[in-house]
């Protein structure tokens, strides 16, 4: 009896959590008559890819297609990942492998910096972007997201670096390997999985971001996907099928990546913040 109640509660929770995602996908596959019917069907009766076709082949804005926005987003996210990964790897190695005077201060700074409300930085970063002449360019976003993703990336990566047995590097050093060689041949390959996990988080940060992308980029052909979707969504409130198809295409990569690394997220924010 108790077991039934528990399982029932579990099903309710699962329904509440997963339903919007299901509904997004289901709506994207329904023909318009089903979408705008006053009696919604739980499952698409006549599933169609028409909305996807419309999104992928049509122009959201004259001359600009969904693929262009997708590409803008991908350029920004991948550049952020590469820069952030490189800088974070260096810093994480310093923190996990060396003991130096300001090490603890540095770690505390990282912790505090992660808590800066990024929403409060829109105005000063807008000023900086204007001054640097980067307004209305994708690099303005890459720079911004680099700053946002770096503290957490270091925090996460230092655990991975610390987990590599130091003896391996010492053995290499005894065999006459230089520091650079040790780093490249021993440490880097062993930390690589951690670097991948960390990169996914930087990717998601950059991929999902809306406010800064909305503010720093003006030309429509340079919009990232979130901005394009807000625009597209705000413009035509009734094209729910296409909106849901676009949302699905935007969301799926994030969900796949996220599920790959979600374990680290919890340890990064809670346990990793405690020990690491």
């Amino acid at each position: 009896m108790k077991k039934v109640a528990l399982n029932g509660a579990g099903l309710l929770v699962a329904l509440f959590a997963a339903f919007p995602v299901y509904w997004m996908i289901a709506t994207s596959l329904k023909p318009n008559e089903e979408i705008f019917s006053t009696t919604p069907r739980p499952v698409p009766a006549e599933p169609t890819l028409a909305h996807y076709r419309e999104i992928l082949t049509g122009n959201l804005i004259p001359g600009v297609t969904f693929a262009d926005f997708f590409l803008n987003s991908a350029i920004v996210a991948v550049s952020t990942v590469l820069l952030s990964g490189l800088v974070a790897l260096l810093a994480a190695t310093a923190v996990a492998r060396f003991r130096f005077k300001l090490r603890t201060s540095f770690l505390i700074m990282l912790l505090v910096v992660q808590m800066i409300p990024l929403e409060a930085l829109v105005i000063p970063l807008f000023l900086m972007i204007q001054r640097l002449g980067l307004y209305n360019t994708l690099p303005s976003l890459i720079l911004t997201y680099l700053g946002f993703s770096l503290p957490f990336a270091i925090w996460m990566l230092r655990g991975f670096v610390a987990a590599v047995p130091r003896e391996l590097e010492e053995a290499a050093a005894i065999d006459g390997a230089s520091r650079a060689q040790t780093f490249r041949r021993i440490l880097f390959p062993l930390v690589a999985p951690g670097l991948v996990a960390t990169s996914i988080f930087s990717f998601i940060t950059a991929w999902n971001e809306l406010i800064f992308a909305l503010t720093f980029v003006n030309d429509q052909d340079r919009y990232t996907l979130p901005v394009a979707m807000t625009f597209f969504f705000g413009r035509d409130d009734t094209a729910w099928g296409s909106v849901m198809a676009a949302s699905t295409l935007f969301t799926l990569p994030v969900i796949v990546f996220f599920l790959l690394v979600q374990r680290r997220m919890v340890s990064g924010l809670v346990a990793g913040a405690v020990k690491g």
């Binding site: 929770v13 409300p117 849901m244 994030v254």
Partner: protein, 327 residues
């Protein structure tokens, strides 16, 4: 994993007595250099800059580009905001919203965490996977879907309310036809839906963290208490909660920080920055600065106020983390 102080390392221990004199190794500083530049230029400098900007009258982009003077106005932006009754509305919205969302997220997240711990293996995996979906969904698309669910003609909620027996619907709400009902028109209803969206996005993190905490607690304690006849309520408050107190502390602080600066969900749900009665601090700051006519100085002052509030919360968080690190 190492602790903050453990890193004396074997390398130092192996050094021969003749070389024990400490030598300054410059390598770690070199490795940190790029990171320090990034954090300094992209986070700390703007943080200082937003404070500086809040003391100027900045009304045009040309001032930002450096083509025009920046007139110093001292605390005028702050006195103007604090004297404005609208600011009090915004502050009240922000605080009440954050309080309600933190409370609801923590309660729902903890309950789901406890539930996941009690479910059988297969069921727990299934429920946890579904919960992960809510977590993984980007704030933007998650909010768009909820907006569709509350659509005033073909939305699921509108349909559900239309399905209610007319008499019941009349008695409860004074209307039976919900088609065309503006779910987002009254501020209270707007905040209720925004709360639903934000809690939906944020309870999974709490649930998974609580579950991770529960797994680290030996289950014998719970069983012993249950054998002694303690009910689930008592077991939670007498055993689970005290053991997981540090985890709960951090989760509350993190949730508070996140819920104080909700932006994307509100922006999408309200369809931009026009819905002033539902403003909270972060969107207020943004709207002052970027909706024409631009008021970058006033927007900065609001951002500083938001930052100061969060600074206090962050102070609590850092103290908590450091205290755990000592243990």
């Amino acid at each position: 994993m190492t602790t903050l102080t453990e890193d004396t390392g074997t390398a130092a221990a192996r050094e021969t007595p003749a070389r024990r004199r400490p030598r300054v190794d410059r390598l770690p500083y070199l490795l940190l250099l790029p990171c320090l530049v990034v954090v300094g230029v992209l986070l700390l400098w703007p943080l200082g800059q937003v404070v500086a900007m809040s003391f100027y009258k900045l009304d045009s982009v040309r001032q930002l580009r450096g083509d025009r003077e920046w007139p110093w106005v001292g605390l005028a932006n702050y006195t103007q905001i604090l004297a404005d009754p609208f600011f009090r509305t915004v502050l009240r919205n922000t605080v009440l919203f954050a309080a309600a969302n933190v409370a609801l997220t923590m309660i729902l997240g903890t309950l789901v965490g406890l539930l996941l711990n009690r479910l059988g293996r297969k069921m727990a995996t299934f429920v946890a996977s579904c919960v992960m979906l809510a977590w993984a969904t980007p704030a933007l698309t998650g909010t768009i879907v909820w907006k569709w669910i509350f659509d005033d003609t073909s939305g699921l909620v509108t349909w559900l309310f239309n399905k209610l027996p007319d008499g019941l619907s009349q008695a409860l709400f004074g209307q039976s036809d919900w088609t065309g009902y503006g779910w987002f028109n009254s501020p209270l209803l707007f905040f209720a839906i925004l709360t639903l969206v934000v809690v939906w996005h944020s309870f999974p993190f709490i649930a998974v963290s609580v579950l991770a905490g529960l797994k680290s607690v030996p289950s014998e304690l719970h069983e012993a208490a249950r054998v002694d006849g303690a009910g689930p309520w008592k077991v939670f408050w007498k055993i689970t909660f005290p053991l997981l107190r540090p985890v709960f502390g951090i989760l509350v602080v993190l949730s508070t920080i996140w819920d104080f600066k909700v932006f994307t969900q509100q922006f999408v749900l309200a369809g931009g920055t026009q819905d002033r009665p539902t403003f909270m601090l972060s969107i207020y700051s943004y709207a002052e600065a970027f909706s024409p006519p631009p008021k970058y100085g006033v927007g900065s002052a609001i951002a500083v106020i938001l930052t100061l509030i969060l600074l206090v919360v962050t102070g609590l968080y850092v103290r908590m983390v450091l205290r755990q690190e000592d243990e």
